[in-house]
């Protein structure tokens, strides 16, 4: 079953906000040989009781089903939703991108940032730090362009995602 073509899936996992829960999730992926493309986690409830973990993974459909089932049986997991299967949803990622340079390259970096609606959040006479957000493809594209104008380093959040419409997952 592992020889079927791989698909990219974005999973939302609601878990008890308790010590060790992230280790359980990540450990499950490594122990069973599943992939993690990106992972984000933060406390999302009023009373700090629930965290939301967004995992982007890839694998053939039966493996994705297994991942869902394995996650679902962990005791501190409230809910697992495969947003890719769920339907319309929004995925966003944020990156901080540092570029160094002077002269034309510096001007070009600013011009490109403007097109991508990336905001400079730090500046010196020889550098910028841009904040860019959007789909992973957009962030990838921006980073690729910055390589040509003096990219120094990148920090990315990984994907966060939520379903469209009035309903909670």
């Amino acid at each position: 079953m592992k020889h079927l073509p791989s698909e990219r899936h974005t999973l939302s996992i609601l878990v008890d906000n308790e010590a060790g829960v992230l280790a359980r999730i990540v450990g499950l992926f490594s122990a069973r040989g599943y992939n993690i493309e990106s992972l984000t986690v933060a406390d999302v409830s009023d009373d700090h009781a629930v965290s939301r973990i967004t995992v982007v993974t890839n694998g053939p459909p039966p493996v994705i089903d297994q991942i869902m089932a394995q996650l679902d049986r962990l005791v501190p997991v409230h809910k697992v939703v495969d947003l890719t299967d769920w339907g319309p949803h929004v995925e966003r990622e944020m990156a901080l991108v540092k570029v160094a340079g002077t002269g034309d390259k510096r001007v070009e970096a600013l011009r490109l940032a403007d097109i991508f609606r990336a905001r400079p959040v730090d500046t010196s006479t020889a550098s910028f730090v841009f904040e860019v957000s959007g789909s992973s493809e957009k962030v990838n594209q921006f980073i690729a362009l910055m390589r040509e104008v003096g990219l120094v380093e990148v920090a990315r959040t990984g994907v966060v995602a939520i379903a469209r419409g009035a309903e909670a997952v």
Binding site: R24, G27, Q70, D72, V75
Partner: protein, 582 residues
């Protein structure tokens, strides 16, 4: 609001409230307060083992034979790490356990303190769930929740790590009412529409088979009864995994015997040729399926399991029903009767099965003078069956021969390490079962190599006057390793000879046991009789043919239809693909 007491007293009180009668353990620095609390009460009996691994296996034997949750108490650091093999064993075989481990005081956690280890980190992957309790007030609720998690859904081991200061501090404890977990809610009842679909598929099948596993045992004795009713109603043949033996009586006319790598020819052929497979509480383990792409190619498959992650893990099924196997079978029978179904005409199917059965795949031929191991187990069965014994095993050839030649007629009488395959399981498991059933005849069928892995537990049996019997099938080899070396590695017996064996009789006597040697076929019956007749613990050193192989066998990487039935079919050296499989 309950009374204020120390954490250690809360542990003992909660265990008492939970109905715990026996705790298997070993003291140490980080659990001294709990041992002190145990000393000052007489409701819970503590069984002092000789090694923490054995404490867990004993709790498994206790749990598997009685259906209760097994409880273990060990110290921090090496106490916890020694327990890891047993905890993993219980996870693989779905045995309900609660394992209490001591931990260094909270202010020392993370400092590499004496006998500190990251117990929750180490056991995260080998337990169903685990806790580090950092406040005494949490101890009571955590203990009650742990028992609920251990025994509900797919059972498994739950570890509770308790720092020493948490055992000393005081808090209020109240016995909770009904436990319900906010997120963990196992589905017991199966989906009725799916059950109806399953019944219709079953009624329409021409070549059905019931493939049953350890889930039937875990569901409780009623499930075994329901399985027999389902077999009767449908007229379908039944086969069982290693873990499910006993759910259907061995001599039931519809029972085909165990399936899988060392299962019967008829069971494996029927699995391959069926048109409908109803899997009840089994998990399509690799020992059962053989080569996956050749596994039962013409059948539609229905899978009943309480654990959703068992569905489609290795074998795609046509219909999955999540729920307790007992509850689902009960509903299936109701639907079957309500719809007025009768067992379909399976004459041609049973004719085919009769043909496979006539190969007598568990048969063996006496050649030469030496006692055959199969014969020894067969006689052991015949001479003890009236006592309805509880049988445990170690791991290896003797385990498979026991599964093949010892007949099981009831659930909870067969204790063996299936998933993890842990040598050293049998003696402590027998001790645990004997504590659950003091009057029962409990026999560990062992190998001379396996028995040495937890041989120190002879002392535990002596201390508590437990009349367990150890029947060693002694062929002076790690037999299954040697067999694979013979079949796959050109007969190069690398490190598989059991050299420098102890004199088992003297060893038994040194621990206050009776020791008996069976030298050959002539001593067999007398030796077994002397073992049964002795009121205390007995170790039997039964010398058998050294080079006997366990057949039939599906070689690694082969399909159900490629069974080796006898030594005449052996192939000498395997190709690299087959060698890479376990």
């Amino acid at each position: 609001m309950g009374t204020e007491m120390t954490g250690a007293d809360i542990v003992v009180q909660a265990l008492t409230d939970l109905g715990v009668e026996v705790v298997f353990g070993y003291p140490g620095g980080a659990v001294l307060p709990i041992y002190d609390a145990l000393f000052q009460q007489n409701r819970i009996r503590h069984i002092l083992v000789r090694h923490e691994q054995a404490a867990v296996h004993a709790a498994e034997g206790y749990a598997r034979s009685s259906g209760k949750v097994g409880v273990v108490l060990v110290t921090s650091g090496p106490g916890a790490t020694n327990a890891v093999t047993g905890i993993t064993d219980a996870l693989m075989d779905s045995i309900p356990l609660v394992v209490l481990t001591g931990q260094v005081p909270t202010h020392l956690i993370g400092t590499d303190a004496f006998q500190e280890c990251d117990t929750v980190g180490i056991t995260r992957h080998c337990s169903k769930h685990n806790y580090l309790v950092q406040e005494t007030a949490r101890l009571g609720p955590v203990l009650h929740e742990a028992f609920y998690i251990a025994r509900s859904g797919r059972p498994g081991p739950v570890v509770i790590d308790i720092p020493k200061d948490v055992q000393i501090m005081k808090a209020r404890y109240t016995k909770p009412g009904v436990i319900s977990h906010k997120t963990y809610k196992p589905q017991v009842k199966g989906d009725l529409a799916a059950i109806e679909a399953a019944v219709d598929m079953l009624a329409a099948a021409e070549r059905p088979i019931l493939y049953t596993g350890g889930g039937v045992i875990n569901s409780g004795p009623v499930a075994s009864q329901l399985l027999r009713e389902l077999a009767k109603a449908t007229g379908a043949p039944v086969t069982s995994t290693l873990m499910g033996l006993g759910s259907v009586p061995d001599d039931h006319p519809q029972f085909l015997g165990m399936l899988g790598m060392h299962g019967s020819y008829e069971a494996n052929m029927a699995m391959n040729k069926c048109d409908l497979m109803l899997c009840l509480g089994a998990r399509f383990d690799d020992r059962v399926t053989g080569r996956l792409d050749a596994f039962s190619p013409t059948s539609r498959k229905i899978h009943v399991d309480i654990d959703r992650s068992s569905f489609n893990k290795t074998v795609r099924v046509d219909l999955a029903i999540q729920g307790d196997v007992g509850s689902v079978m009960e509903d299936m029978l109701k639907v079957w009767r309500a719809r007025g179904h009768r067992a379909a005409d399976q004459k041609a199917w049973w004719e085919q099965i009769k043909g496979w059965r006539s190969r007598n795949s568990f048969g063996f031929e006496q050649k030469g003078e030496a006692l055959l191991p199969q014969k020894a187990i067969q006689r052991l069965y015949e001479m003890t069956k009236a006592r309805k014994p509880i049988i445990s095993t170690e791991v290896g050839q003797h385990q498979m021969w026991a599964a093949q030649h010892f007949g099981f007629h009831e659930p909870n009488k067969w204790l063996t390490s299936g998933g993890l395959g842990t040598m050293g399981y049998g003696l402590p498991a027998a001790i645990g079962a004997q504590l659950a059933y003091p009057g029962a005849l409990v026999i560990d069928i062992a190998g001379e190599a396996s028995i040495q892995m937890n041989i120190q537990e002879l002392g535990t049996a002596t201390q508590y006057r437990l009349p367990v019997k150890v029947f060693i099938i002694n062929n002076e080899y790690m037999g299954m390793v040697r067999q694979w070396q013979e079949l796959n590695h050109g007969g190069r017996y690398s490190e598989s000879y059991s050299d420098s064996l102890p004199d088992f009789v003297k060893l038994a006597e040194a621990y206050g046991w009776k020791g008996i040697t069976i030298e050959g076929p002539d001593d067999l019956d007398a030796g077994i009789q002397a073992m049964i007749d002795h009121p205390g613990p007995v170790m039997v050193d039964c010398r058998v043919a050294k080079l006997a192989n366990c057949f039939p066998m599906i070689p690694s990487g082969a399909s159900h239809t490629d069974m080796i039935l006898s030594a005449a079919d052996e192939r000498g050296e395997a190709d690299d693909d087959a060698k890479a499989l376990v």
